[in-house]
């Protein structure tokens, strides 16, 4: 694969341009939503609960909200682009040219990373004013943000290819992505859960993304960041493998 081929760069640019042209919907709206989460949960729970020792609840919440925004928007970017193109029929413009499966996947995933990180950065810039945040291990922050966005970008490609109608994609988003993100420790530490749900949370890959990301800020986490990195990396390879296989086979794309 020529990662910097003109085909890849063009598709990547098109995907960036697509969400940038509707930035109010794709960037500003999710930032406002996260801001509301912070105001409500921060206001209600600040001073009442402590998730990590020595860390205020609002400060604990902010990395969780940032990562949740990164993940949800990375997923939304690739999945909505593909389903819209499939339903309106303009996906043919991607299928007719000599773009390889790798070029298509990498363009959609990298554009999803850009959208996810743009929203995440926006959420961070707006919410950081409300708490004192440290950056203990900035490299972990970057690594988990990038990997988390890439995973959800690849997942969005899978969902976008699989779904034939908008409601199927909405089901994917509402019954899989949303619960998995919310139950991954965005608003709480899984250590506070009863033993059964604590054990269940360890099977949720989203938990490792958020826990590893939060470790970069506070130097404290529920599991070792190396464990989280290994699990997240394997998850990415598996999802990218599934997505590339779907594209290679032309699953629901080339009949």
């Amino acid at each position: 694969m020529n990662f910097f081929s003109v085909g890849f760069k063009t598709l990547f640019y098109k995907e960036i341009l697509r969400f940038w042209k509707v930035a109010t919907q794709t960037i500003a709206a999710p930032i406002v939503t996260s801001m509301l989460y912070l105001l409500i949960f921060g206001h209600v729970l600040e001073g009442r609960v402590q998730m990590l020792e020595g860390v205020d609840y609002t400060a604990f919440l902010i990395p969780g909200l940032v990562m949740m925004s990164v993940l949800q928007n990375a997923f939304a970017n690739s999945s909505s682009s593909l389903i819209q193109s499939k339903i309106t029929g303009n996906l043919v413009f991607i299928l007719l040219p000599p773009l390889s499966h790798w070029e298509i996947l990498s363009a959609y995933v990298t554009a999803s990373i850009v959208r996810g990180l743009s929203v995440g950065l926006g959420v961070f810039v707006i919410t950081a004013w409300f708490a004192h945040l440290s950056f203990t291990f900035p490299l972990w922050i970057i690594v988990f943000a990038l990997l988390g966005a890439a995973i959800l970008g690849a997942m969005g490609v899978i969902a976008g290819i699989w779904a034939e109608k908008f409601d199927q994609l909405a089901a994917f988003q509402n019954f899989l992505i949303m619960p998995a993100t919310f139950l991954a420790g965005v608003f709480y530490s899984i250590r506070k859960l009863p033993p059964f749900w604590l054990a269940v949370s360890h099977f949720n890959p989203f938990f490792y993304m958020i826990d590893g990301f939060r470790y970069g800020f506070f130097g404290k986490s529920d599991v070792s960041p190396w464990t989280s990195l290994a699990i997240v990396a394997v998850f990415f390879v598996v999802l990218a493998g599934v997505a590339i296989n779907m594209l290679r086979r032309g699953y629901k794309l080339r009949h």
């Binding site: 085909g7 063009t10 042209k21 309106t88 029929g89 413009f93 040219p97």
Partner: protein
């Protein structure tokens, strides 16, 4: 050089066989017509050529490159105008064409993009969003998108469906120019007069089979369907010529030898031009005097109808 080689292509959808072993060879530089009624398999075949559909059996090659195994080279050589009026609502015309260029690996292609837009009368709309264009204009952009990488093989799937005369003229002028410059053009259309005017060779598909394949001139010559229209000043149609009167007209005449509402006008079916001499001789012998006479050659529509109705399959060569 062979532009498109289609070998024994079969394709089924949930038990329905859309293509039943289609084989075709289209040479470089040809203007080739792919005709057939709705559901004949034209779009399925074009989708196989474009790599949008994978055949169950058989293979398709563009300039010698297999569309599945060597898809990059095959798609570089191919420009397809899809039948559906699809567009990306996020972009302007120029952005759409630049993006399409980029997908084909072309940077800095603005000179050719400008030329394509100029030839398709799109220049004034270059910076207009696709959503704001009329159907005809969107169709022009689809054609432009197929041409951005100067493909040697151009496939047009119903390019003039529902568009005005102006676009048709603009489009055919530009496509003819490209064909004269050596581009192969494959056209599907329901406007048979367009196919007759443009195509050098034609394949007709019916229920997934090629039922006719010949040059346009051979096709027009081989199929019986030319008519000799004679208007008699005096006399009647001789007995021996009654069987040549066209069916619909014969029904109108109570008696072919005693003209009624049609007056003395008869439309006689002619299989070969040599038969005209024989008809004239018989009229002369019978003492009938000809007032007016016109030889009307069968057009593609007549031939299409005959073939699709299965009247003259035996008489049509698949060459």
């Amino acid at each position: 050089m062979t532009a498109i080689q289609i070998d024994s292509v079969e394709k089924s959808y949930k038990g329905f066989k859309a293509l039943k072993g289609v084989s075709l060879t289209i040479e470089q530089g040809e203007f080739f017509g792919l005709l057939g009624p709705n559901g004949a398999g034209k779009t399925t075949l074009i989708s196989c050529i474009a790599g949008l559909i994978r055949p169950d059996v058989g293979s398709v090659r563009i300039h010698g490159h297999d569309v599945v195994k060597d898809f990059r080279a095959a798609r570089m050589a191919l420009g397809v105008v899809p039948q559906e009026l699809v567009f990306d609502p996020f972009f302007t015309v120029r952005e759409t064409l630049r993006l399409q260029s980029g997908y084909f690996g072309l940077k800095n292609n603005d000179k050719w993009i400008d030329e394509v837009m100029e030839n398709l009368d799109l220049t004034a709309k270059a910076d207009v969003n696709m959503r704001a264009l009329s159907g005809g204009m969107k169709r022009r952009v689809l054609v432009a998108q197929a041409l951005v990488h100067k493909p040697p093989v151009i496939v047009l799937d119903e390019p003039t469906a529902g568009v005005d005369v102006e676009l048709r003229q603009t489009l055919w002028k530009f496509i003819s120019r490209l064909n004269k410059e050596g581009h192969t053009v494959v056209l599907t259309t329901h406007y048979l007069e367009e196919a007759q005017a443009m195509c050098q060779r034609v394949a007709m598909l019916k229920t997934g089979n090629v039922v006719a394949l010949d040059s346009m001139s051979q096709l027009l010559r081989r199929v019986s369907g030319s008519s000799l229209i004679v208007h008699l000043k005096s006399g009647a149609l001789p007995e021996g010529l009654r069987s040549l009167v066209a069916h619909d007209e014969a029904d109108a005449h109570d008696d072919a030898s005693k003209p009624n509402g049609h007056g003395n006008k008869y439309t006689l079916r002619v299989n070969e031009y040599g038969e005209v001499e024989h008809i004239l001789a018989r009229l002369r012998e019978s003492g009938a005097q000809i007032d007016e006479m016109q030889l009307q050659q069968a057009d593609l529509e007549d031939i299409f109808i005959q073939i699709m109705e299965g009247e003259s399959q035996a008489g049509v060569a698949i060459r």
